[in-house]
Amino acid sequence: MNDTMLVRAEDVTKTFETGKLEVRALRGITLDIAAGEFLALVGPSGSGKTTLLNLIGALDRPTSGKLTVLGRDLAGMGKSERAQLRLTSLGFVFQAYNLVPVLTARENVEFVLELQGMASRERRDRSGAVLDELGLGELRNRRPREMSGGQQQRVAVARAVAARPKLVLADEPTANLDTENAQMLMGMMRRLRDDQGMTFLFSTHDHRVVDHATRVVTLRDGTVASDERPGVAAYRGAPPL
């Protein structure tokens, strides 16, 4: 395996069983993601985007096939090991922001660092620095309900990157944002990728996200329909999703 490959999926399948019903969400995905990529995962609803994100994010395990994330085979990892992998090496940004409502912006960022066992002073410094770096210094003592959707999503990005993960997974990060905030968010994440070499993987329907991607992987019916790079021009010419 190439050392720069953060993710390697080989013929990965995922089947869900609901009573007697069997749903094959992924039907043999083969995909490599290299360090530093800014990859958009696109496709219609039910194509398997979120399922693939769950698997790469070590939130679930594949039914068959081999999935290696940061050099570790997920099939052999227990619940606790996967939690540790998520905590130390992966960052998450959710569609609905999902900040903890009773904590301030700074505390939300600090929480992840505390879970990692970072010392109190160090995590305060780190969370403050990350918020300042992302232009959120003035919001640090505000709680989520005191912030706009765009501000909340930027804090969510700060939370995702504060622990300096190697891979950030974002599920429809701009779905609830207006154009201005969506562009601001994508610009922020692109800068993190350019300046700090972080790798970003998005699932999205939003062309504003796709426009920023360096690679676009399209899923249909649980399989990879296309894999294009540099994806911007190619994607613009593709039929609407």
Partner: protein, 412 residues
Amino acid sequence: MSLSVSSRFALRSLLRHLRRTLLSVVGVGVGAAIGLITIAWISGEEGMIVRAAAHSGTGHLRIVPTGWADLRDPGQRLADWERDLRAARALEGIVVATPRARTEALLGFGTRIASVELTGVDPRTERRALRFVRNIAEGRYLTPTGTGEVVVGRTLAERLDAMLEDELVVTVVGRDGEMNSNILRIVGIVETGSREIDAQVCQVRMETVEELTGLSGAGEVTILIDDYRRIEEARSRLATGIAAGDVIMSWDEVAPELLAGLQVDQSFADVTVVLVLFVVLLGVASAQLSGVLERRKELAVLAALGMRGTQMVRVVVAEALALGVSGTVLALAIATPVIHWLATSGVDLRDMAGDVDLAMSGVLIDPIFYADFGAWIVPYAIVLSMTATIVASIYPAWFATRTDPASALRVA
């Protein structure tokens, strides 16, 4: 020092539904307060029963001849009663030590007779050890030098149809089996408030019993100390000073039926406390589980971010601890004045049960019950409240650890 973020998360989560949290705190506080009051009442009852038993003739400790516990024969005598008495009186914390010699006797007056246990006593110390003979309704108590004198209870006097200054014929079986008789003059009639007890009181000087039975010395030395909680300590110190052939018994060994009664009451109290705490525990568990269910999405997000099961358990337990601390404060606020009132004013059982005879197994029970008040209330309040809340948090905590992190990616 500032709180950790997870502690702040736990505490602020409690404030999200203030009314629910307050209700949980009230549940814990009231439940623990009921538990404290029950324990204080039973503990007070224990002190009262021990005091009543000790002052009804049993003593806190009693030196008896070896084998007396099995035979309970009033004819048995101590190996060296004077040595035993000296050792008892040298004891630290001693209130009184008094010798007694008992014998079974028949009292006769005119055409009436009554079978009694005649108790020979030392009049100088007996009244400090036996409360029954403090209430002389007619006449006086025995004197150290008076001969042929007897003090009887009112019921016994009535059975014999005898009055003050009447002369009774007393008959006992001597040490060699011969019948010995003498004349005893009633110098005092006591009324204890219990007709059962008043039928048993029949005291003479110890020398009178010695003369009647031909048995010299005392059959027991009854000891009262200043703190019944130090009975075992006193017993072990006394053990080295008494004569060989004599043994020491505590009040509960002398009167095991009283201990059994106390144990029944204590078991009842334990069951009451456990039931109350169980109901409180269910209420708290329900409230905490609701809190966890409402935050499933949040917990899923935290799990997705890498929060481990043990860290999640810590958050739920921190919430339980906060409820427990608040519950402890409320329990103390409720229970302290109630227990203090019960300990100082007491509850007069006659108000509830009427003017009943409060004698039990030859022990005159105080009609006014007092609760036990002291610093013990604080640690007990902490233990009761914390136990209820921590145990209640086990299931919600376990439930929280079952959160599926993948659900964080689903839009609510």
